[in-house]
């Protein structure tokens, strides 16, 4: 039988994207939790960071949170677990966090402790061999199964870990774990399951804690929340003095950023929240019972992959003449035609977004026939080289100035330039993999490492 209950403190979701709030974190630490944990990854940030192997989060913010968490965890003598290091969970991001932990420990002369970490990157050659052997790599969310062509267009791939590597590292005695890419909920579920609590409640615990105070009200991110698991239920409590975990806020979080509020898929099975019962049991605490967990036949691991399309430059123009606003599509067509005449029909990409009309929603905009009195056009030029991308973007931008509209009154320039030039942006990538792959051993894609951190 496990301990009567275990308490899990989560100070942040997507650690690094914005710093944790220290006041509620300290209040939470003072209650003596059994674990301190945070997820640090997200695929919300687009394919660029994974493709280019960079973080979108500033190092100072990553370090800020790791330092607060490490000092508190070592002070209490409880495990600290971080999932999906550095936004993407690539190997370089895991190494970055492990090095930050070592450095923080050195600076604070912490007593020796054990650090465990695992990697999540999958070499394209591994998938190439699977495909060659006739194994299917199944597309998710309506995507077709992976083809060799799509794999060849991919620069970097991570596999999304389940509880398995975390459980294994805890078994090895790790005091601090830095995980590669993982499902958000499993960093919480792994220690709970390992301690003997039911799988369903353990995964639910992770689901409800993964974004910290996003499960509380009033709205306010980056504040600490505490989840407590028993053999019968999960109780989640807001720590910030002004926040509460209510039935509405906790149930509302169950559906946050997922297509169904009822199911959560992880490597190893599916959490079913259809019959969850939510009760307000104290001012700041909601109790949840009734989730179920259905183990899958075989382990299906999700794969995320990004591939580079090209270098990218952006330009911007404004339009105020009502006639030109009404005919902005013709202005764009003119500029596009000039790019075609220079570069041909393909080998580059040129995109125009018309702000003030349908810049945000594109074709889904119901009001796209009612543009504002002025509009701004953002121009993206993408090409294999920086030189070409710049020329595509500057041609697409500047040629709007010369668009030949038949009845325009202003013949000294069709658009307003806030900048004379186009500016370099991050390279353009796209998500090439949102797939799953069956594995025989749940650890086969996630090599484990363990080391002692000494002053």
């Amino acid at each position: 039988m496990p301990a009567h209950t275990l308490r899990f403190l989560c100070p942040n979701g997507h650690l690094g994207f914005a710093p944790l709030k220290t006041e509620s974190f300290r209040l939470g630490v003072d209650t003596g939790p059994d674990f301190i944990l945070a997820d640090s990854g997200s695929d919300d940030i687009g394919p660029g960071p994974l493709g280019s192997d960079t973080s979108t989060s500033p190092r100072e913010w990553q370090r800020h949170d790791l330092e607060h968490m490490l000092l508190a965890a070592r002070e209490l003598g409880v495990p600290m677990i971080i999932g999906s290091a550095g936004d993407t969970g690539t190997n370089s991001r895991v190494d970055l966090y492990v090095e930050m932990i070592r450095d923080i420990a050195r600076r604070h002369a912490l007593a020796p402790f054990r650090i465990g970490w695992f990697y999540s990157e999958v070499a394209p050659s591994v998938l190439r061999e699977k495909l060659a052997a006739g194994e299917a790599i199944r597309g998710l969310d309506g995507r077709p199964d992976l083809t060799p062509e799509e794999l060849a267009a991919t620069d970097r791939i991570v596999a999304v870990a389940g509880i398995h590597p975390y459980k294994a590292l805890l078994d090895e005695g790790a005091d601090v774990i830095i995980g590669g890419r993982s499902s958000d909920s499993v960093i919480f579920a792994a220690p709970a399951i390992r301690a003997g609590f039911p799988e369903a409640l353990s995964y639910y615990l992770g689901k409800v804690l993964e974004c910290a105070s996003f499960n509380a009200e009033p709205y306010g991110g980056k504040e600490t929340v505490i989840g407590e698991i028993s053999m019968e239920d999960v109780r989640v409590t807001a720590v910030h003095p002004a926040q509460r975990c209510t039935v509405a806020s906790v149930a509302g979080h169950a559906m946050y950023e997922r297509s169904s509020p009822f199911y959560e898929h992880v490597a190893g099975g599916r959490l079913d929240m259809t019959h969850c019962v939510y009760e307000q049991v104290a001012e700041k605490t909601t109790r949840i019972t009734g989730p179920t967990f259905m183990p899958s036949e075989g382990i299906h691991v999700k794969l995320e992959g990004a591939g580079k399309i090209g270098e990218r430059y952006v330009g911007f123009v404004g339009i105020r003449d009502p006639y030109t606003v009404a005919h902005v599509d013709e202005v764009i067509a003119w500029a596009r035609q000039q790019v075609c005449e220079r570069f041909g029909d393909d080998g580059y990409e040129l995109h125009f977004q018309v702000y003030g009309r349908n810049g945000v929603m594109g074709e889904m905009e119901p009001l796209k026939d009612r543009p504002a009195h002025e509009v701004g056009v953002l121009v993206f030029g993408i090409a294999p080289t920086r030189e070409m991308a710049e020329e595509v973007a500057i041609t697409g931008t500047r040629q709007m100035f010369y668009a030949r509209l038949p009845d325009v009154k202003g013949t000294a320039g069709g658009v307003a330039f806030p900048l004379d030039e186009v500016v370099p942006a991050s390279a353009a990538y796209r998500w090439t993999l949102n797939h799953t792959m069956q594995v025989g051993d749940p650890l086969e894609l996630f090599p484990l490492h363990l080391d002692e951190v000494r002053p």
Binding site: D141, A251, G252, S259, S260, M361, W431
Partner: protein
């Protein structure tokens, strides 16, 4: 509709939001404060797969899920994107600003 009084969804709902659900979908949550209002909107039939598809000018096949979620007093639906988030030409990497047209949906309140 009977030609009676209506109120915009933006006034009736506590939360109306959109957000990525993975890299290929955007999910929409409409959450109410009181059960009565939630039931009223559910019963009104103004939010269905068909009405949402019409509002967003998309074929119904692009709606992957449409559910009501009683514990959260919420109506929720999810769309397939036409291109993955963050691909060139995508103007909303987080999918966070796609909910606005829902605010103006008129709900009969008679």
């Amino acid at each position: 509709m009977s030609g009676g009084a209506t109120r915009p969804l933006g006034e009736l709902a506590k939360t109306v939001r959109s957000k990525n659900a993975g890299v290929d979908k955007i999910t929409f949550d409409i959450i109410f404060r009181e059960r009565e209002t939630y039931e009223l909107v559910k019963r009104s039939g103004v939010l269905t797969r068909a009405s949402v598809a019409a509002l967003y000018r998309i074929p119904e096949e692009r709606i992957s899920d449409f559910v009501t979620f009683d514990p959260a007093l919420a109506i929720k639906f999810t769309l397939y994107r036409t291109r993955p988030s963050g691909s060139p030409g995508d103007a909303d990497i987080f999918g966070a600003q796609q909910y606005a047209p829902l605010l103006d949906v008129e709900v009969p309140v008679d």
